[in-house]
Symmetry: C2
């Protein structure tokens, strides 16, 4: 009816992108993919509680809109978040959304929740009590000042074996804060947060628990971090 004379500065495109995340099932997919790994379509369908055919359509949409990328291997369709900016979009959205009811339905859920609260990954950096603890210890020791890496902080990271130069190279924000949904406190993200996390996995200071996002410190990791940050982990 009404001719298309709206002042539209890309509103339609933006609405389309937001629409990708505006569905409960697709949102659940993206939150699951925040662990930074690739999931198969079937896994996501089960996780989201929908039929496989429904999951297929949702994944088509998310890939079309550039939030996910896919990789076909044999009869499997693997998808993951397209890049760290897509992950940040999901993070920001979920951080700002009202928290779900904090009632653990069962003992099984409760222990699972507790493991996630202790330590987990948030796309590509450490989160949960572990991530927040590291961040606060770094701040206490003046390795971080506000959200700026100090000179001593830089030296400390190099000493740990973190590739600081590579992290600096990208156009990605160097240091960024990310709000934690269990701790309600900010923790270290951005290129440096990712580099530190990668180093922790490479050196086997942290390891995954099962197949989810939950992680735990290894004995070595606990020793290294506690000594290095003069803080009990």
């Amino acid at each position: 009816m009404r001719p298309a004379i709206r002042s539209d500065d890309g509103a339609a495109e933006m609405a389309r992108l937001a629409g990708s995340l505006a569905d409960r099932t697709r949102a659940a997919f993206c939150l699951a993919l925040l662990d930074g790994r690739a999931w198969t379509a079937g896994e996501l369908a089960r996780h989201g509680g929908v039929a496989r055919s429904t999951a297929t359509a949702h994944l088509d949409r998310l890939v079309d809109d550039g939030l996910l990328v896919e990789e076909r291997q044999g009869r499997h369709r693997y998808v993951r978040l397209a890049d760290h900016e897509a992950a940040e979009l999901v993070e920001h959205l979920s951080a700002r959304a009202p928290q779900p009811v904090p009632v653990p339905a069962s003992l099984r859920d409760a222990t699972k929740h507790a493991a996630l609260a202790r330590g987990r990954t948030c796309y590509d950096h450490l989160a949960g009590a572990l991530g927040v603890g590291v961040t606060e210890a770094m701040t206490d020791r003046r390795l971080l000042d506000g959200w700026t890496l100090t000179a001593t902080g830089r030296a400390w990271l190099v000493d740990l074996g973190v590739d600081v130069e590579a992290a600096r190279a990208g156009r990605r924000p160097f240091v960024r804060s990310c709000l934690d949904w269990t701790e309600r406190r900010p923790h270290l993200a951005g290129a440096i947060g990712a580099a530190l996390c990668r180093r922790c996995f490479d050196a086997q200071w942290v390891e995954r628990i099962g197949s989810g996002r939950a992680v735990r410190l290894t004995p070595t990791g606990r020793r290294v971090l506690s000594a290095s940050l003069q803080h009990e982990f």
Copy 2:
């Protein structure tokens, strides 16, 4: 049908929030509000090309979801973005969305677009060629290094009369980059970007053109910035 046994880590809440931005009209409202000022419901209805009753419903939704806050004055309903985080969400979303067709429909639109491209505000900081120019000049003079404010940069800001301490105080990221949709290059945002922008308005170095987001340098502003950054504005 199916009982509610989904593993839902707040997916419904997140989808609900994304849904607020997943409508062309509501998206247009939020993009308009990126100028950081308060608009009346009627202005937004006209801007979005919808009936007033439709705008009312949309504003109800956006306020409910916490993206907008409202203030009633007499028969007017003023709304603005709730806070800088809401603004950042809109920014990120619009920056990632595919760009709209770059065809200016009329001469009127073309000149309007050109003014926006030269200089404008992006919620609370400077954007367009002006914002990008300032940021790149600061980088050239080593006032910014990557996305870190250097010691000389800090001194430079204090010298200009920017309240750096106040900007540091908040929990908000100190320095942040924001991707420009005309220049396709990052420019200075975050608490420091906002403080610098505020100073520019207070000192009348920049002024608004008409009622939109477009701004221009005043003669004084041009002189001050050109001298201070050794760069022709």
